[in-house]
Subunit: 130 residues, 3 copies
Amino acid sequence: MYHYTALVTCLAILFYFITSVQVARARATYGVKLPAITGNPDFERIFRVQMNTLEWMPIFLPAMWLFAIYLSDRIAAALGVVWIIGRIIYLIGYRKAVERRGPGFGIQALATIILWFGSAGAIVWRLMQG
Amino acid sequence: MYHYTALVTCLAILFYFITSVQVARARATYGVKLPAITGNPDFERIFRVQMNTLEWMPIFLPAMWLFAIYLSDRIAAALGVVWIIGRIIYLIGYRKAVERRGPGFGIQALATIILWFGSAGAIVWRLMQG
Amino acid sequence: MYHYTALVTCLAILFYFITSVQVARARATYGVKLPAITGNPDFERIFRVQMNTLEWMPIFLPAMWLFAIYLSDRIAAALGVVWIIGRIIYLIGYRKAVERRGPGFGIQALATIILWFGSAGAIVWRLMQG
């Protein structure tokens, strides 16, 4: 069983859910009515945080789970926590200005890249072992 | 094995696929040509149904599967069916007017919240048992 | 274990990641500044390639994995490779013109449909066996 990775999965989808709630709030704050998704730069930045997190979910979640299965539950979960922390820094920065999205984005990207290369490497290794 | 949850996964992605087909049809009906995603409120509501369903997939699917693995395949699948029913009500309502998206949205959100809290609770319980 | 499907999962998310990188590059090339997602048709087509790939990830990945678990790791992975090839053709075509997105789209859709029907059929069969 992969209890740590399972728990971090719950935390990651909770964080992602919070970015969705912030979009709903920003609609009210900045007066961007459904179904519009454009019209106010402050709203659009908060919307982009949610969208970008959504865009990375199908990269991050499979990479973390393959890493857990092929290498280590605890290391996968630890890298998942780094991903969430990077995402929180990204959220706080991007809310303020487009230019401030960089550091958080870099942290979560690095965690994902390690998860991906770890998984891919371990899978190829196993296939080569027959 | 988790046959019921597996079957509901197939049904959920079938429903989601149907929302995508409706966007393609709405493009023709309302004359919103690719690659545009704005321009007509009737089109935009149908587009938002698909987008919102997409946005919830990485919350719903992992939560349902973790619930199935940690608690019960049958209850996870039953909550998954409630999610799909909520989504169908949401689709029918939102197509008519932005204001009518509420009830269906609430049903699918409630099903997801139960799946998430059930999973998270069971995982923490297992970790505490060592 | 499902080594082949695991490897194709890594390749599929790598391809999807590349579509995201191309959106970032297209922003620079066509001068579409964040957080905007509209304003230039050439940018919008490249953006739609990424979005459409994202839209299909929660259909393709679960269908491929259920096929691997219920039927065959190797056939699931082979169909996954067909999906990636279809996506590459779709990317090349759509970059040039909206009208040229058809063939690649059809290939990846066909691979996904086979994965879905195979999975759904095998799951129902198992449930009927009790």
